[in-house]
C-alpha cells in the first residue's frame, strides 16, 4: 500500500511539473504584456523596459521558468515587496500581496463551502439514490428519478439568486451568506454558509442520486449478489453488505474528482454569494490579468484534484476487497 501511495505521489508531482510548464507557457501566449499593468498612466517604452527587468520578463522563457521553479521550491529574497518563503509563487501584480499567503487566506472559505456541501450532497444524494434503487419501479422511484433530472438541469447562477431572493431578501428567514471564521464563532460560520451549502449540494445531490440509483441497481444484478440472496440471506443484509459497498466504487471515483474541483474553487458559487474563496480569487486574477495569482490558483486547483484522486485510489482498497487482494 505504501509503495502504491509513493508511486502515485511521484506521478502527481510529474503531472504537476508538466502542468506548470504548460500553464507557464500559456501565459506567454496571452496577448497582454503583464508589465503594462504595473506601468501606470505615464507608461513609455523606457519605463516598460524597466518593469520588464524588475519582473524578470527580459529573460528568456526557459530562464524565467527556471527561476519560477526555484522560487517555488526554495523561496526567494529577490522580490522588492519582501521575502517570499517556499512555496513561492511570487507577488500579485495587482495587490502586491504574496500569492501563497493570499491563497492560504482564502482556503478556509473554500474548504468550509466544499466540505459542508459535500456532507449534504453525499447524504442526500446517496440516501435518495439508494431508496430509489431499493424501491425500484415504484412511484417513489419514479418521483426521485424525475425530480433529480429536473434539479440537475438547474444551474447555480439560476438557483443561487433565486434562493437569495426567496430566503434572504423577501422572507428574511436567513441572513446574507458570508464567511465567518469557524474558530471565532461557529454559529455565525454555520449560519453564513447554510444557503451556499444548500444551493451547491442541491445541484450535486441530484447527480449523486441518479448515480447511486443506477450503480446500486447494477450491483443488485451482479451474480454474487444473486448468489447471496439464493443462499437465503435477507434482502436488507445483501443490500448493505454486498451491493452497497460495490456500488460505492464509481461514486467514490466521481466524488474524488468533484471534491478536488471544488477545493480548487467553486467559482460560480463563491461569485454568486460573494464568498472570498479560491474561486473568487481565480475570477479576480483573470479580471486583472494577475498572472502570478492565476498561476498559483491553477496549480493549487490541479494539486487538489490530484490529491483527491490519490485518496480515492487508496479508498478503493478499503471499499472493495477485490482491489485489496489484487
Amino acid at each position: 500500500m505504501l509503495r502504491f501511495l509513493v508511486r502515485r505521489f511521484l506521478g502527481a508531482v510529474v503531472i504537476l511539473f508538466l502542468l506548470s510548464i504548460v500553464t507557464f507557457l500559456l501565459f506567454f501566449g496571452m496577448p497582454r504584456d503583464p508589465a503594462l499593468l504595473m506601468c501606470g498612466k505615464t507608461c513609455n517604452p523606457q519605463s516598460l523596459a524597466n518593469i520588464h527587468h524588475v519582473l524578470g520578463l527580459d529573460k528568456s522563457i526557459p530562464e524565467q521558468y527556471g527561476i519560477f521553479l526555484h522560487n517555488l521550491v526554495f523561496g526567494s529574497n529577490q522580490f522588492a515587496q519582501g521575502p517570499c518563503p517556499a512555496p513561492c509563487f511570487g507577488y500579485s501584480y495587482h495587490t502586491n500581496d504574496q500569492v501563497w499567503a493570499t491563497m492560504m487566506d482564502r482556503l478556509p472559505t473554500t474548504l468550509s463551502l466544499t466540505l459542508g456541501a459535500a456532507v449534504v450532497f453525499l447524504i442526500v444524494g446517496l440516501g435518495t439514490g439508494m431508496v430509489a434503487a431499493w424501491r425500484r419501479g415504484t412511484l417513489l422511484d419514479k418521483t426521485v428519478t424525475a425530480g433529480s433530472m429536473v434539479i440537475s438541469s438547474l444551474q447555480i447562477y439560476f438557483l443561487g439568486p433565486l434562493a437569495l431572493a426567496a430566503l434572504v431578501y423577501q422572507s428574511h428567514i436567513f441572513s446574507k451568506p458570508a464567511y465567518n471564521d469557524f474558530t471565532a464563532n461557529p454559529i455565525t460560520w454555520f449560519s453564513g454558509l447554510i444557503i451556499p451549502w444548500v444551493v451547491l449540494s442541491t445541484i450535486f445531490a441530484s447527480q449523486y442520486t441518479r448515480m447511486a440509483r443506477s450503480s446500486m441497481i447494477e450491483q443488485l444484478q451482479e451474480e454474487h449478489v444473486r448468489t447471496a440472496r439464493a443462499k437465503g440471506m435477507s434482502r436488507k443484509y445483501v443490500f448493505f453488505r454486498y451491493a452497497w459497498r460495490g456500488s460505492l466504487i464509481p461514486i467514490v471515483t466521481i466524488f474524488g474528482i468533484d471534491l478536488g474541483s471544488l477545493l480548487g474553487g467553486a467559482i460560480i458559487t463563491e461569485f454568486t454569494f460573494g464568498l472570498p474563496g479560491l474561486g473568487m480569487l481565480a475570477v479576480q486574477s483573470v479580471q486583472f490579468s494577475d498572472l502570478p495569482l492565476l498561476l498559483g490558483v491553477m496549480l493549487f486547483s490541479a494539486a487538489m484534484i490530484l490529491l483527491c484522486n490519490i485518496v480515492v485510489d487508496a479508498c478503493y482498497a478499503f471499499i472493495d476487497p477485490r482491489v485489496r487482494l489484487s
Binding site: I51, Q81, A178
Partner: protein, 603 residues
C-alpha cells in the same frame, strides 16, 4: 478622479457591471426628467462655484451635519477590494473615496452647502489653499498647528518633502503625475529623471523646485505657471506620507493615516475595518466629520447584491451603504419609483466620465472631414444609454467636458443628438454621397462586454443604414484599451471614456487631444494632431483666472467636437446609489462622483 487607458477600462467595468437589463424607467418618466434637471442644476452650481478658499475658509472644524449624532457602526458593501492604500498609488475612484476618510493633503474640497452641491478648495493640512505672487509659478503653503499622523507623530514639511520626492521613485507608478511633471517641466514619464531613485539614496529635489525652509513651510517652484496647483494638491495621490514611517512598497499595505479614521485591519479581497483616529484633531480639519465609531467593509458584493441587500433594509443592512457600488440596472426603476421611503435614502448624480466614439485619424479614408461628419450624424446614442441602464445611468453628451467640470455648456449639441438621439441616417448618407464614399468600409472595434455587444450592434446597423460598409470586430475587454491605444491599430472607430481629475477641463482636453502626445498607450485615441488645438491648449494652460480658463477650454471643446470631429461625444455617465434606512448624512458629492463618506452618521 480620472481613469484613462487601463484605468478607464476598470472604471467602465465598474459602471458596466449589473447593467445587463434594460431599464427605460418607463414607470417614472417624469421622475427621471426631474432627476435629470436636478442633477444638471447641482452640477451647474458646483462647476461654477469652486473657488480657492482663504485662511478663514480653511479653519476647522467642519460644519456639523444637520441632525447628526456620534456612534454606531457603518456596514460598507463594496464590490472591489482596495489594491492600494499608499497615497502615492491612489488614483481610481474607489480608493479615492476611502482616502477621504483616512488621508489628508495640503488642500481639499470643502462642501459649502449641506446638500453637497457647492464646494471650495481650502487648505486641509495647510492654512489656506495656497498663495502665489507670480501667477502660479511659485506657490507657498504653511502647515497648520496640531496636525499628526495616526501614530501621534507631528506632520512637518519634511514629511511633505518625502511625499513629493518618493513620487519620482519607480515603485510609485499608479498615482497622478501632474505635479511631478510640473516640477520637472516635462511631459510623459521623463519627470523621473529629476530624481530617479526618489529620496532613498540620499538625493533630494533642489530648492529651486521644492523648498522646505522650516518645519511648517513648503514652497513649490515651477518653470511655467500652474494656476491649477490647489486643485491638483487636493487629489488623494498627493496626500501626505510619513517620512519616518515610509516603508516604500510595504507602505501600500499599512500606511500611517491622517484623516478621522485609521485602519484597524485590512484583509485584501475580504474585509477592512476602520476605527476612529484618536490623533485626528477636528479643529484642524474644515472638511471632514467623524460621527461613526467604526466602519466595516465587506468586499465582493456585486452591484445587484448590494442593491438588494440595501433595498431589503433588514438587520445590519439598515446601517449599510456602498461608497462606490451603483444601484444595478435591474433595480433602478424600483429605486427611483414612487416609494418615498426608498427615494429618501437614494442619491444620484453625474460621474466625471464622458463617453466618445473615436474616429481613427491615422487612416487615410477618415481624413476626409465630410466622412467624419457623416459618421457623427449617423451615430445613434440611444442604444448606448440603454445598454448602460437607461436615463438614470447615462445622458446624451454634447461635448467632451462633463457637466461637473467648468466649461460645460448644456446647450452645446453640434450633431443634434439631444433632440434626435437615434441619429440622422438620411443626412449622413447625403454627406457620404457628397464625399463620393458610399459603401466606405468601416472597421468598428468594440469592447466585448455585455454593453459593448449590445450597443455596437445598433451602432453598426445605423452606420450601415447611412451607407457605410461596417465590419464589427470584437476586442477582449481585458486588452481593449491596450488595443485601441496603439497608434497603428486596425480599427476605424471605437469607443472610449475619460473623466476629469479636477473640475477643470485642463485634465480632459490636453491628455485626450494634444497631438504632440500621440503615442502607443496615449489616451489620444483618435490620434488627432491639429496645430490650432495644440496652440490653444498651450494658451489655455497659461490662463490663471478660472473663469477665463473655463471659457478657453469650452471654445477648444466646441472646436474639437464641431470642426475637428476627431471623436463624437456620446454620453455623460451618471449613477444612482442607495443606503440603509438608518444611515444619515446621505449626500451625492459631484467632486467625489458618488456618496460623500465624510459626513455619514447612524440615525
Amino acid at each position: 478622479m480620472s481613469r484613462g487607458g487601463r484605468q478607464t477600462y476598470a472604471a467602465l467595468s465598474v459602471l458596466a457591471a449589473g447593467a445587463l437589463v434594460l431599464t427605460g424607467c418607463s414607470k417614472g418618466g417624469s421622475n427621471a426628467n426631474d432627476n435629470e434637471k436636478k442633477d444638471q442644476q447641482n452640477a451647474k452650481r458646483q462647476q461654477s462655484s469652486i473657488k480657492f478658499g482663504n485662511a478663514a475658509d480653511s479653519q476647522g472644524p467642519a460644519a456639523a451635519v444637520p441632525g447628526a449624532k456620534a456612534g454606531g457602526t457603518l456596514e460598507v458593501l463594496q464590490r472591489d477590494s482596495y489594491a492600494h492604500l499608499d497615497p502615492g498609488q491612489i488614483y481610481v475612484s474607489d480608493e479615492g473615496s476611502l482616502a477621504t476618510l483616512i488621508h489628508r493633503g495640503l488642500t481639499g474640497y470643502k462642501a459649502t452647502s449641506s446638500d453637497g452641491s457647492k464646494h471650495e478648495v481650502v487648505g486641509d493640512l495647510a492654512t489656506d489653499s495656497g498663495t502665489t505672487t507670480d501667477g502660479g509659478k511659485t506657490w507657498k503653503y504653511t502647515l497648520k498647528d496640531g496636525i499628526k499622523f495616526s501614530d501621534g507623530t507631528p506632520i512637518t514639511s519634511a514629511d511633505f518633502r518625502q511625499t513629493f520626492e518618493r513620487l519620482f521613485a519607480s515603485f510609485i507608478n499608479q498615482g497622478p503625475t501632474y505635479i511631478q511633471q510640473w516640477m520637472a517641466d516635462t511631459s510623459g514619464s521623463d519627470y523621473r529623471k529629476l530624481l530617479p531613485d526618489g529620496p532613498y539614496k540620499g538625493k533630494h529635489l533642489p530648492d529651486s523646485v521644492l523648498e522646505t525652509p522650516d518645519a511648517k513651510t513648503i514652497v513649490f517652484h515651477f518653470k511655467t505657471a500652474h494656476p491649477d496647483l490647489p486643485y491638483a494638491l487636493a487629489m488623494a495621490g498627493y496626500d501626505v506620507v510619513s517620512k519616518k514611517g515610509d516603508t516604500k512598497e510595504k507602505y501600500d499595505k499599512a500606511p500611517l493615516t491622517t484623516g478621522p479614521y485609521k485602519i484597524q485591519s485590512f484583509k485584501s479581497g475580504k474585509s477592512m475595518v476602520l476605527v476612529k483616529n484618536p490623533n485626528w484633531d477636528p479643529k484642524t480639519d474644515p472638511i471632514r466629520n467623524q460621527y461613526v465609531n467604526q466602519m466595516n467593509f465587506t468586499f465582493n458584493s456585486q452591484y445587484e447584491d448590494s442593491t438588494k441587500a440595501l433595498l431589503a433594509d433588514t438587520g445590519a443592512d439598515q446601517t449599510g451603504i456602498s461608497f462606490n457600488n451603483s444601484v444595478d440596472a435591474g433595480n433602478i426603476a424600483k429605486v427611483l419609483g414612487g416609494d418615498a421611503a426608498i427615494k429618501a435614502r437614494t442619491v444620484a448624480g453625474y460621474q466625471p466620465y464622458v463617453g466618445q466614439i473615436n474616429i481613427n485619424q491615422s487612416h487615410a479614408a477618415l481624413k476626409d472631414k465630410t466622412v467624419r461628419q457623416a459618421i457623427a450624424y449617423a451615430l445613434p446614442i440611444t442604444p448606448i444609454i440603454r445598454a448602460f441602464g437607461g436615463s438614470a445611468a447615462a445622458e446624451v453628451a454634447g461635448g467632451f467636458i462633463s457637466p461637473t467640470v467648468s466649461g460645460y455648456d448644456a446647450s452645446f449639441d453640434p450633431w443634434g443628438k439631444k433632440k434626435n438621439p437615434g441619429g440622422d441616417a438620411a443626412k449622413a448618407k447625403a454627406l457620404l454621397k457628397k464625399a463620393g464614399k458610399l459603401g466606405l468600409k468601416l472597421t468598428y472595434g468594440y469592447q466585448n462586454t455585455p454593453e459593448g455587444q449590445q450597443y455596437s450592434t445598433a451602432i453598426a446597423a445605423a452606420l450601415t443604414k447611412a451607407g457605410f460598409n461596417v465590419q464589427r470586430q470584437d476586442i477582449p475587454a481585458e486588452t481593449y484599451y491596450d488595443q485601441i491605444g496603439k497608434v497603428n491599430n486596425n480599427y476605424d472607430i471605437y469607443a472610449s471614456a475619460w473623466g476629469a481629475d479636477w473640475p477643470s477641463a485642463s485634465t480632459v482636453i490636453p491628455p485626450l487631444f494634444d497631438g504632440r502626445a500621440v503615442a502607443d498607450g496615449s489616451p489620444n485615441y483618435s490620434h488627432v494632431n491639429d496645430p490650432k488645438v495644440n496652440a490653444d491648449i498651450d494658451a489655455a494652460n497659461k490662463i490663471a483666472d478660472p473663469i477665463k480658463s473655463a471659457e478657453a477650454w469650452e471654445k477648444i471643446d466646441e472646436y474639437l467636437a464641431k470642426d475637428v470631429i476627431n471623436a463624437v461625444p456620446t454620453i455623460y455617465y451618471k449613477q444612482v446609489q442607495i443606503a440603509g434606512s438608518k444611515v444619515g448624512g446621505l449626500v451625492y458629492d459631484d467632486v467625489i462622483g458618488g456618496i460623500d463618506p465624510r459626513r455619514l452618521y447612524i440615525k
